[in-house]
């Protein structure tokens, strides 16, 4: 299991680990998994955990065992993409659960995610988030979907070995999961949604039905949207997004466009993929068709 912290509280880490410990026990009882390694990466400006707090968390893992938990303070903000890549290099597990620190695993989460991995063609399995379910369309029969949310996904190590990890040079915080999913699908793997695998994810909506976003989220999601249109070869969308961001009136949007233009000028953008649009899906402002909108 990988979790990347950024100024999260010790309590939230303890809550997550308690739920994961229980989910591991449930999965082991059903022989879905054998041993487990829990890796915490910390991108905060100061370590979230003191040695004593880490020891306390390790002792609390009654099923996984104290030695299963390791903590790595990065001493720099690696973002979610860079942080997870770092953690990929620190273990050799066949399957990796990536989970956000503000999540709580249901007891059956791991077991149900592993169920969906029984098909060797499946590379990534996405959990269902509660209370705000991601409204991405998926095949009701097979679970196939456009991409898997990095809030809680199970990924096969072979996928990482084949396509590399997250593209941390292009995506600091957002769309790293979409990009990873699409590269996995380009490589022939399936990405599936497993609605019976539930995770609580502490997300809020504002009164207009929009996900509550801070300044950093506004900036990085704008930057990521430009990068997605570039990398996944949608020139029309790139120019349209660029113009919309420039005229939105938000300073964060203008800075994101400036940063993108600078990288373009310096030839620092990634290679373009999928010119035939085999896997990339741009539907309105989303990367998949949606079943519903929270502002409908």
């Amino acid at each position: 299991m990988h979790v990347v912290l950024f100024r999260h509280s010790v309590d939230s880490v303890a809550t997550l680990l308690r739920s994961v410990d229980r989910s591991v026990a449930y999965a082991q009882d059903r022989r879905a998994i054998e041993s487990v390694v829990l890796l915490i990466g910390d991108s905060s400006t100061r370590p979230v955990l003191t040695p004593d707090q880490l020891a306390g968390l390790q002792e609390s893992l009654t099923h996984c065992g104290p030695t299963s938990l390791a903590y790595h303070y990065f001493d720099q903000n690696r973002g979610s993409a860079g942080g997870n890549n770092d953690l990929f290099r620190r273990s050799d597990s066949d399957l990796v659960l990536i989970i956000n620190p503000d999540c709580y695993a249901s007891p059956s989460l791991l077991s149900r995610l592993c169920d969906a991995m029984s098909d060797p063609g499946v590379g990534i399995v996405e959990a269902r988030q509660v209370p705000l379910e991601h409204p991405k369309e998926f095949d009701r029969r097979t679970g196939d979907t456009s991409w898997a949310s990095g809030s809680c996904m199970l990924i096969r190590r072979a996928v990482i070995d084949r396509i590399g990890g997250f593209d941390e040079d292009s995506f600091f915080m957002y769309c790293d999961d979409v990009d990873l999913s699409w590269r996995a699908r380009l490589a022939g793997y399936r990405v599936v949604y497993q609605p019976t695998a539930c995770v609580f994810h502490d997300k809020r909506l504002d009164p207009d039905g929009q996900i509550v976003a801070g300044e950093a989220e506004v900036y990085y999601s704008a930057e990521a949207s430009l990068m997605m249109a570039w990398k996944w070869s949608n020139a029309d969308l790139l120019e349209r997004s660029r113009q919309e961001l420039l005229h939105s009136g938000l300073e964060a949007h203008r800075r994101a466009v400036d940063a993108f233009d600078e990288r373009l000028e310096r030839d620092q953008l990634p290679s373009r993929l999928d010119p035939e649009g085999r896997v990339a899906q741009f539907v309105r402002r989303n990367y998949a068709a949606h079943r519903f909108g929270y502002d409908d």
Binding site: D21, S106, P107, P131, C198, F200
Partner: protein, 135 residues
């Protein structure tokens, strides 16, 4: 750490229909497990359903970590009992305050504001509304 031998400060009592709502109750339990502290105990009063369905619900509670599952109490509503779920919860709970959802047929995912907030040193809760009753 709260002493498990002491009564919780607050209780949530809710009436849930058995059977078709099983998916919903599992999500509700997940939400409560994620968001509430040991100061809150939970009484799930089950209406209808067979004894095996009731056992299934108890088994579901048992799959959660012990810190949470020991705070959740499942009981069947007597078919001849005319009391509300909250009244049953008051009778069963040792807490000083008991709350229940406004509509008896639905259990909130978790309370958000109002009288819930100062209760239990828990993180702000995401969904739902409740009403409280002082014992």
């Amino acid at each position: 750490m709260t002493d498990p031998t002491q009564p919780a400060a607050f209780s949530l009592a809710a009436l849930v229909p058995c059977g078709p709502a099983s998916t919903r109750i599992s999500e509700t339990l997940l939400s409560l497990a994620a968001q509430t502290s040991p100061a809150l105990e939970i009484h799930v009063i089950v209406e209808g359903g067979s004894s095996s369905e009731l056992r299934g619900l108890q088994d579901l509670v048992g799959t959660f970590d012990e810190d949470f599952s020991r705070r959740v109490h499942v009981a069947a509503m007597d078919r001849f009992d005319s009391r509300t779920a909250v009244a049953v919860g008051v009778a069963r709970s040792r807490a000083t305050h008991v709350a229940g959802p406004r509509r008896s047929e639905s259990m909130p995912l978790a309370p958000a504001v109002g009288p819930w907030h100062p209760w239990s040193r828990c993180r702000p809760l995401t969904h739902g509304r409740g009403v409280t009753y002082e014992r």
